[in-house]
Symmetry: C2
Subunit: 417 residues, 2 copies
Amino acid sequence: MSEVMEKIGRNARSAARILALASTETKNAALMAMASSVRRSANAIADANAQDLADAGTKGLKESFVDRLTLTQLRIEAMAKGLEDIASLPDPVGTVTSEWARPNGMMISRVRVPIGVIGIIYESRPNVTADAGGLCLKSGNAAILRGGSDSHRSSLAIASCLVEGLREAGLPEYAIQLVPGSDRSYVGEMLSGLNNCIDLIVPRGGKSLVKRVQQEARVPVFSHLEGICHVYVDKAADPAMARRIVLNAKMRRTGVCGAAESVLVDRSGSESNLKPLINELISAGCEIRGDAAAQAADARVKPATEEDWSTEYLDAIISVKVVDGVGEAMSHIARYGSQHTDAIVTEDQAVAERFLKEVDSAIVLHNASTQFADGGEFGFGAEIGIATGKLHARGPVGVEQLTTFKYQVRGSGQTRP
Amino acid sequence: MSEVMEKIGRNARSAARILALASTETKNAALMAMASSVRRSANAIADANAQDLADAGTKGLKESFVDRLTLTQLRIEAMAKGLEDIASLPDPVGTVTSEWARPNGMMISRVRVPIGVIGIIYESRPNVTADAGGLCLKSGNAAILRGGSDSHRSSLAIASCLVEGLREAGLPEYAIQLVPGSDRSYVGEMLSGLNNCIDLIVPRGGKSLVKRVQQEARVPVFSHLEGICHVYVDKAADPAMARRIVLNAKMRRTGVCGAAESVLVDRSGSESNLKPLINELISAGCEIRGDAAAQAADARVKPATEEDWSTEYLDAIISVKVVDGVGEAMSHIARYGSQHTDAIVTEDQAVAERFLKEVDSAIVLHNASTQFADGGEFGFGAEIGIATGKLHARGPVGVEQLTTFKYQVRGSGQTRP
């Protein structure tokens, strides 16, 4: 264990003890002060980002990468606004989620408490610094942030605004720490849990990062490796609604994890649904890879390979398969899906309920777009990510999911017989 | 991966899909049929146990070990009764734990669903076979049971009763599988997750087993390594209540994880509390290892070493320390405790609330014995163990904690702007 990381871990743990007891007012004051500091430092942040971008340019990185790295004034303002939004969320800490009396008179309460220290490992987006730091603070957790080396100057500029906010509110500066420099071994040390100083890791980035974190972490991880989301168009679907939902699920934003990657069309309804669906998608600029039935419906459909059914395109490409009813649709989803988000379009309530009950995904939707897989859209205010693991958090991870609980037992001298 | 374990994993996964959709009635029918089968097979179980015991005797094992291994007719009946008790518990699966409408008209429900496949690794107690199998079934999970090699014949006899119950109720026999033979490499394969066929591991046994599971498991684990439980006797404690609670917390059963291992006595109240407490414990046959103040109070108190403060005796031994108020008590607990169960005895409500809020343990009690750290005592009906991890389950792990949830979203054609 490096001296640098050991110290960061120890400081985070001691900050976490103070944060766990901080009042809602103090935490919100820190968040508001952070937002002000980000606004005041907009130019300094932009300058730091320009240096990161200059380096990125010289290294010949991909355009999408450079876009993620770029902080415009608009994006800096959005960061400040994001911190204010987090301040306005209800504080989950201290909430009594259930309470009951025992026959012997003891009262047992289940009370939300912070998890402790959360490690966030991210890539090029420097704004994750503010989002993740703010969400951890609101939920009473200390944060150890490890951003990508390409955006390190930008992250540093943002992190110093966060620390300023903590200081102004009288909270420990170690509550949010940015791992210094770009030593890659630090990531491995975080994944080892820093001598029990990290309780949870949240990776934010591409598939290779998430895969490494899932494989190597010795502490719990909230993550999703991929979102292979399906829309099943039942024979009893309203054809116009099916077209609208599929188009939105695929094309609203193709790069998000809730974007649909496969459409399954019920053979019985394929007469009215298949051709118009394919046509609408192609008109919108989407490439279609289909099975024989889909290819027969439209000459522009390319043949799908076995691999296509389990591919997350994150692009304007979708696979289309004709299935024999909801049963085959659910079998296909169980086999090729990623237990992230799947939707059914149908006017048949019984079929819809069966799908909602039987499909084993974090989010299952009836007559709504898979692109609603998002903490904001769920009303959580903000999310640190989406979890496809089944334990603790599942689906959007907001401030509430960043807490755990304890049992408080109030007695009057009870001993156990 | 061995062929044996790969097949067990695959069969468990497919059984889990059926179990997840099984009705409460079917699951309860299976549990009742299992109980009948255990009663009908009491002699066969006793015979198998006698063979295990004969082997154990020839190997010269410890008496406590032999006791854990022994199945009397009373213990066999208790197993049958335990299965009936699990049948009478409410079924957590399908419960809607929260539900809300979004401004766009979508209804979001959070619904309890089973976790999937649970691996239980245990040692000499063959009755864990019935307890764990029954709890997993009730919560809709498939179980893979790996018992100790010393109790293998007993576990096998019990498992065949469980399978008979499953069969009678028309549920898949693979819903509860006992790992055959005593190949130790099977444990390692279970800890690897059996190619994603195990979602969760629960170890039931001694510290070395739990430690190995925690260190090697590649899937989530519900466990506690040790219960270093404290009772803090505040200056405002009712002295008689303090004596009763400390005596019960230590001596009711010394071998359970909720047994107290350390008493902290407030210096301000030590005049009235310390001597009588020590006297009562010693009269009850408890050895005391104390700091200077405790030694000064009673000549029979042995000196405590630094190691004593973090020792789980699981025996009639307790460490006693005099502290300066609740602040020092909580610092001591934070440093030496195991975040399992800690209690305060005081008539001062403000001090009690501070302790309940600030001590970061799964269970914190006011004026009640630490021996209440138990799923039955919490009203959970039965528990598969106690968890000191902070994610998902914390404290007693009952049927509810063996479930996860999913979000069901009901829309009317919503697309995301």
